[in-house]
């Protein structure tokens, strides 16, 4: 599909992030993922008559923290409202959310697309409860004759983060989402497990003629849960809207749904059917006053955020690219810092993490979060290379061995006898043997073909199973050959 050059895309995103509390937002049920259907449910989750909500303080703390991480103004007064609509996954048929007094407003997030930095505005972020989950008897909602409802997810604490319509390219949208997830993960707001549905995106997109100041009619596509779906959905929706506009038709303001299998967006309901949510203040929850002291307390717990971390890594001499890769996930960033405490050559550490260790983890479908090679073990390994105890090549073998056995590098080296041979007497003997059994190379060298020494070094390394100290071998060979 091709992007029609004469149109500019305007996109804003609403992101629902499940906050990392131990319990739901209005009751004490556990938020643990993956439990049996309807087992993390109490009378409140079921909307049983007579039940009342009690707000989880930690959800408010995390919302404040998220607001601070997104450079928002934290409201001094905030409250909950009921959003009334009927749906079987909504146990009370209203969602407790925040309407006109959200907890966070007016923030921004900086993104970097191909070296160009841009601030994306954050309109607001508010707390709300999640709904339950529908499991359809057929393949999709439209082909099912019945559905099952599981209320485990009902009442999970969500933060809905609404961006300004500031994004103009698909890459910007993806960069914004990646950046947002990164900040949420770093600040400890959410574990951001996209595959578990703990983050969901609603994409608002419209087109306008380049140069135009007015916004076109937008559509909202709901409930996307991966960056690739967002990308494909946007590309599809841009193409669809461009075709409509070019053929003189109008884009209808409506809510659409993304069909992952078919790769298309489908109309869910038009603006005329737009629900009338009849918001009103939740009488069962007193409002929240947030004073400076509370905000300062949360601020004090704020860890280093990705942007600051990248700047710090660059100040250690790493390239912008390295800094971006190393901070891509919080786990990788933390890993780097922990290893750096024991091994201070940032560049070498970065190379090993981004090179051999990443490759090893990737082959085993493992991540830095649960890497069997501990940061301290990597640091020790790199120190051993630095000291000349082992060669870089042997180190790769040792790394794999750490991965497989979890043993410390020194032990592996000792057990396997992998330590570098730096004993001159021991090497002298092997050097002499190699010289005597390779007369051709010796004469080549002496005839001025200095490259021939490489072959001889290789032979010594071969004879020592790679454990000989290559520098020392070189030196001994040169000494011998010039004597002969």
């Amino acid at each position: 599909m091709s992007y029609r050059e004469q149109y500019e895309m305007v996109c804003g995103v609403e992101t629902h992030v499940e906050m990392a509390t131990k319990t739901k937002i209005f009751c004490g049920c556990s938020t643990e993922f993956g439990q049996g259907q309807n087992t993390q449910v109490c009378p409140g989750c079921l909307g049983l008559p007579g039940t009342l909500p009690v707000l989880n303080r930690e959800a408010v703390n995390l919302a404040i923290k998220a607001g601070l991480a997104l450079n928002c103004k934290i409201a001094e007064f905030t409250k909950f409202d009921r959003k009334n609509y009927f749906y079987p996954d909504l146990s009370k048929n209203y969602q407790t959310s925040q309407f006109d007094r959200p907890i966070c407003e007016n923030g921004w997030l900086e993104i970097n697309v191909a070296g160009e930095k841009k601030r994306i505005g954050i309109t607001r972020a508010h707390m709300e409860e999640d709904a339950g989950k529908l499991v359809h008897s057929g393949e999709t909602i439209t082909t099912s004759n019945s559905s099952g409802v599981d209320y485990n997810r009902a009442g999970m604490p969500l933060l809905e983060i609404v961006s300004e319509p500031d994004m103009r390219t698909v890459d910007e949208v993806v960069a914004y989402l990646e950046g947002l997830i990164q900040v949420m993960e770093y600040a400890g707001i959410s574990d951001c497990k996209l595959e578990q549905g703990s983050v969901r995106f609603d994409i608002n997109v419209s087109l306008r003629k380049r140069g135009s100041k007015e916004f076109g009619t937008r559509t909202e596509t709901k409930n996307l849960n991966s960056f690739s779906s967002v990308r494909r959905c946007l590309e599809y929706e841009i193409e669809r809207q461009a075709e409509l506009l070019e053929s003189g038709e109008e884009v209808i303001q409506e809510t659409r749904t993304w069909d992952e299998g078919k790769g298309v967006t489908l109309s869910l309901r038009s603006k005329e059917d737009a629900p009338d949510y009849r918001y009103f203040p939740e009488p069962n929850l007193p409002p929240i006053l947030i004073d400076k002291e509370w905000v300062e307390k949360i601020k004090a717990t704020m860890p280093e955020l990705p942007m600051a971390k990248r700047e710090r890594l660059e100040s250690l001499g790493l390239s912008e690219y390295d800094a971006v890769v190393l901070t891509a996930t919080k786990a990788m960033g933390d890993y780097f810092d922990q290893a750096l405490e024991k091994f201070d050559d940032a560049k070498t550490l970065a190379n090993w993490m981004m090179g051999d260790l990443s490759a090893l983890l990737k082959t085993n479908l493992c991540s830095f979060a649960d890497s069997p090679v501990a940061p301290q073990q990597l640091a020790t390994l790199l120190t051993l290379i630095q000291k000349g105890n082992i060669s870089g090549k042997i180190a790769k073998t040792v790394l794999e061995e750490i991965y497989n056995t979890g043993k410390n590098p020194e032990i592996i080296i000792k057990e396997k006898g992998l330590a570098q041979i730096s004993d001159e007497c021991q090497l002298e003997k092997i050097v002499l043997e190699v010289i005597s059994s390779n007369p051709k190379s010796v004469s080549d060298y002496q005839a001025g073909k200095k490259n021939a020494i490489g072959f001889l070094v290789g032979q010594v390394m071969k004879a020592t199973k790679g454990q000989a100290n290559p520098g020392l071998v070189n030196k001994l060979l040169k000494e011998r050959l010039s004597k002969e």
């Binding site: 509390t21 131990k22 319990t23 009751c27 004490g28 049920c29 556990s30 049996g36 259907q37 309807n38 087992t39 993390q40 449910v41 109490c42 009378p43 989750c45 079921l46 009690v54 707000l55 989880n56 303080r57 930690e58 959800a59 408010v60 409250k79 009927f86 079987p88 529908l134 499991v135 359809h136 909602i141 439209t142 099912s144 004759n145 019945s146 559905s147 099952g148 409802v149 599981d150 209320y151 009338d276 009849r278 203040p281 009488p283 929850l285 007193p286 409002p287 929240i288 006053l289």
Partner: protein, 87 residues
């Protein structure tokens, strides 16, 4: 009236619609007296007794066993509440 009934998810017959329209009109007519009061500088009251910052600690409590969760269900299967086709 039909729109309101739809929002409220109530199936009403024509007679009910006529009756409710009549009764609602008389109640709303009575309520119209509120429009004569100047409330431009008045804050709304949403709570009879105003409290703030009522919150609980993030501590897990025991949930209900699944059979109890489903005990009142009009229709349940495999641990799920069953509902008819949604669209």
């Amino acid at each position: 009236m039909k729109h309101v009934a739809h929002l409220a998810r109530l199936k009403l017959n024509e007679a009910e619609i006529d009756l409710y329209t009549l009764q609602m009109n008389s109640i709303l007519e009575y309520a119209a007296r509120l429009q004569y009061i100047d409330t431009s500088n008045i804050e709304p009251t949403t709570h009879a007794v105003q409290l703030y910052n009522v919150m609980r600690d993030d501590e897990v409590k025991v949930s209900l066993p699944q059979n109890q969760v489903l005990a009142n269900a009009p229709e349940a299967e495999d641990g799920f509440f069953q509902v008819p086709r949604i669209v």
